[in-house]
């Protein structure tokens, strides 16, 4: 049988793609959560900075032509609520620097509130600048409050949220991995079930798969069913063809032979009779060859798809001996069964019957008239031996191993009809069952002994 080359695994591929998807999602989740957190943290810092600046602006006014400014305590203390971040500020009125950190610059841009992230005193800070126009001596002048805060708190929050996001992402990934393992296994299960159910079938079982399968497998199973249907048809056709071919050859032969037989009875002239006899002999040889070809084709076909069942070799031999009795009787040959009970093997009944019949055909042919052919069944350790022993000339000493080859005949079998396939058939049957053939001559007296061995059940 050809080995199937395995390339990749659906389950692994499914698993890998599910895991890759999960990993992608987990990473995406991580970044989304992180960016949301960053946005939220930035927003909340911006809001507090804005509130702080607003509270300073709200506490400022122009009184009697002079700017009155107040820094409410809460303006800065609120900045300390979320984190221990450093705070810098500056208040500018028009071109004048009023108070705070004189080197803290305004945020460029339009609008009342302007935000910016920049470095101040070697640390990144978030800066808000909030402006309002105050009228001083009838002239609108811009009061600007600039507040900056370092971003450690935000960074810490981010780190914390990142680690939570990472944990969530990892958890998500692990959960997804578990689910992926389950999913891929359950996805592959119908395939395995199909494989098991197809693998368990006997060689004759070419019924279509009827059990419901997932929709994705419908195409495969439909193709499999069509394939089995075609196989069934083609097997039936080839079996029929072999049978038909043999039949087509043998039927006219039989008719001719019968006619020749009848004619032979009516003809008296010796040379005519000799010719007829010669003709009948040729016909017999052809017919037997066709029969053996048929047997051999059948054996070859079935050997590839052994149909195992428990079978009793003793019983099989008894039935075969019984059936061949009339044929043996024609030549006054005694067909003797020497059997033991319980010789059980696991095998294909039809094949073993065929093998034994071919051996017995040979034995009956080669035995001298009024001889004895013994069929013996023995159990030996873990083997069952099926032997056929005749009292013919035996096998020639040379080339005995060649006898199991197709169309090989013993060199001393001249004049006896037979295509020589009998031993080949027996050999192939034994091999197909994990056994073998031993060909020997009888130790006591003349004759051959062919023994088939099978492993016991």
């Amino acid at each position: 049988m050809t080995m199937v080359t395995a390339k990749g695994s659906i389950q692994r591929r499914l698993m890998v793609s599910l895991l890759a998807g999960a990993a992608l999602l987990a990473v995406a989740l991580f970044f989304i959560v992180q960016s949301l957190a960053r946005q939220l943290a930035e927003e909340s810092q911006d809001n507090i900075l804005l509130a702080s600046a607003t509270s300073i602006l709200d506490a400022s006014a122009v009184r009697q032509g002079e700017l009155v400014l107040d820094l409410p305590y809460s303006a800065f203390s609120m900045l300390g609520n979320l984190s221990d971040d450093r705070v810098f500020y500056a208040v500018r009125f028009g071109a004048d620097f009023i108070t705070g950190y004189s080197d803290l610059e305004d945020v460029r841009g339009l609008g009342e509130a302007r935000f910016e992230t920049r470095d101040y005193l070697d640390e990144p800070v978030r800066v808000v600048a909030l402006s309002r126009l105050l009228s001083i001596s009838g002239r609108p002048t811009k009061l600007t409050v600039i507040i900056a805060q370092t971003r450690n708190g935000q960074r810490e929050t981010l780190e914390r949220i990142s680690s939570i996001a990472a944990t969530i992402g990892l958890g998500f990934f692990l959960a997804a991995a578990g689910l992926a393992a389950l999913a891929s296994r359950s996805a592959i299960r119908p395939l395995e079930r199909l494989a098991v159910s197809v693998g368990r079938r006997g060689p004759q079982d070419l019924r279509p798969v009827a059990a419901p399968v997932p929709s994705e497998m419908v195409t495969l199973v439909a193709a499999l069913n069509r394939f089995m249907e075609r196989l069934k048809v083609s097997l039936a056709r080839s079996e029929e063809f072999i049978a038909e071919a043999a039949h087509r050859v043998r039927t006219p032969l039989a008719t001719v032979r019968t006619q020749a037989d009848i004619t032979l009875r009516r003809v008296d002239k010796e040379e005519n009779r000799a010719a007829l006899r010669e003709m009948i002999r040729a016909i017999d040889e052809s017919s037997r060859a066709a029969g053996q070809l048929l047997d051999h084709a059948m054996v070859t076909f079935r050997s590839d798809n052994l149909e195992h069942s428990a079978l009793d070799v003793g019983q099989l031999a008894a039935e075969m001996v019984d059936r061949l009795h009339p044929l043996a009787e024609l030549r006054d040959i005694d067909l003797v069964l020497d059997s033991t009970s319980g010789a059980m093997i696991s095998g294909d009944t039809i094949l073993i019957q065929n093998a034994l019949r071919n051996l017995l055909d040979n034995a009956i042919k080669f035995s001298p008239a009024e001889g004895t052919v013994v069929v013996s069944v023995r159990r030996l350790e873990n083997q069952v031996l099926l032997g056929v022993q005749d009292q013919g000339k035996g096998f020639p000493a040379e080339g005995r191993d060649r006898l199991t080859r197709r169309f090989a005949r013993g060199s001393n079998a001249e004049g006896i009809i037979g295509s020589g396939l009998g031993l080949t058939i027996a050999n192939e049957v034994a091999l197909a069952h994990g056994g073998g053939v031993e060909i020997a001559n009888n130790r006591k007296g003349p004759g051959a002994c062919v023994t088939l061995s099978f492993p016991s059940a």
Binding site: D70, Y73, S74, F76, S77, G80, D84, R86, L121
Partner: protein
């Protein structure tokens, strides 16, 4: 020896500094390999036990202790960039400002991690005492009077007996004392009562001092009847403590925390860190040594009294340090306290 030489050089350089030194003491062996330079607002006597305890654990090290006012400390570190390893101050606002403006070195250790949130700001400022601003009164002067429990009581009392308290009320000169300014701004932030009290004190021609000890001396000498917003610890540590009544007003009592930080100019951050840890461990010890002069407990460790207002470390303290704001505040204060002059 190399370290000793370096420290000698540092000491030689010290006199050239422009800030004003109140006192200076060298603890530990003269030939110590390393010298830790401490700038502090605490009196040397009060802080000595902590330093000695540190030197016991750390051989071959000396401590050069420089006592200054809180304003000078700020000046030394912020304006002059003087090289110190440790800065200890009662002026929480200035310590916070130093840290905020980047003049402090971060320090992180088991000892700092053990501190509660309120006792530290960033990894820079670490609190190791809690000291309530008290009203110290002379028992003699209050003969026959009910001891005031709140500021309102005190105001009423002073209004009722102006003759008895005229010229006999002492408080910080906010223009000189950083601590006084801190207490005053916190009082003002907490309650409007402060301004009424200041006005009453002003009307009684209150006398202004630079420091707690001077005010307590005044009370002890009979010169003063009332010292407002002084550190009770100074009064309690005196041998004649029984002459005073140390009052913690029940309307609210501001609690100051002394704090330590490592200046950016430290020459040995690790050594400074060890010292900080030692101070914190000593102060925060569950059972502090008998001779400990500074502990986190103070009078208030276990007091969960609503009236105790612990000054919060943080950017809020920067508000009253703002030059504009300070000018406004001092203007208002002067208007109140110096009304008659």
């Amino acid at each position: 020896m190399r370290h000793a030489l370096i420290s000698l050089c540092l000491m030689a350089a010290a006199p050239a500094m422009a800030f004003e030194i109140e006192a200076r003491v060298q603890f530990g062996p003269d030939n110590a390999a390393t010298v830790l330079n401490v700038i502090s607002t605490a009196d040397i006597d009060l802080f000595a036990p902590v330093i000695l305890g540190y030197l016991d654990q750390t051989p071959n090290t000396a401590v050069d202790y420089v006592a200054v006012s809180s304003g000078e400390l700020m000046k030394a570190l912020r304006d002059e960039g003087a090289a110190f390893d440790i800065a200890i101050s009662s002026a929480m606002d200035l310590q916070t400002k130093l840290a905020n403006d980047g003049f402090a070195h971060a320090h992180n250790s088991d000892a700092t991690d053990a501190l509660p949130e309120w006792a530290r700001w960033r990894d820079h400022v670490f609190a190791f005492t809690q000291e309530p601003a008290s009203i110290v009164v002379s028992r003699a002067a209050f003969q026959g009077l009910t001891m005031p429990r709140t500021r309102q009581d005190l105001i009423a009392l002073m209004r009722k007996h102006p003759d008895r308290f005229m010229n006999r009320v002492g408080t910080y000169d906010l223009r000189l004392s950083g601590l006084g300014y801190l207490f005053a701004t916190q009082d003002a932030r907490t309650s409007e009562t402060y301004w009424r009290l200041t006005e009453v004190m002003g009307s009684l021609n209150a006398r202004l001092f630079c420091c707690s000890s001077d005010m307590i001396n005044g009370v002890a000498s009979g010169e003063l009847s009332i010292a407002y917003n002084v550190l009770g610890s100074y009064a309690r540590s005196r041998p004649d403590a029984d002459q005073f009544e140390i009052l913690l007003p029940t309307d609210f009592t501001t609690v100051m925390m002394r704090s330590v930080l490592i200046p950016k100019t430290t020459h040995d951050a690790d050594l400074a860190g060890d010292f900080v840890d030692h101070v914190l461990q000593t102060a925060w010890a569950e059972r502090p040594p008998k001779d400990a002069t500074f502990t986190i407990a103070g009078e208030v460790r276990n007091a969960e009294d609503d009236s105790l207002r612990r000054i919060r470390l943080g950017p809020g303290l920067l508000v009253f340090l703002d030059a504009y704001k300070k000018r406004q505040f001092l203007q208002a204060w002067e208007d109140a306290i110096l009304q008659k002059r």
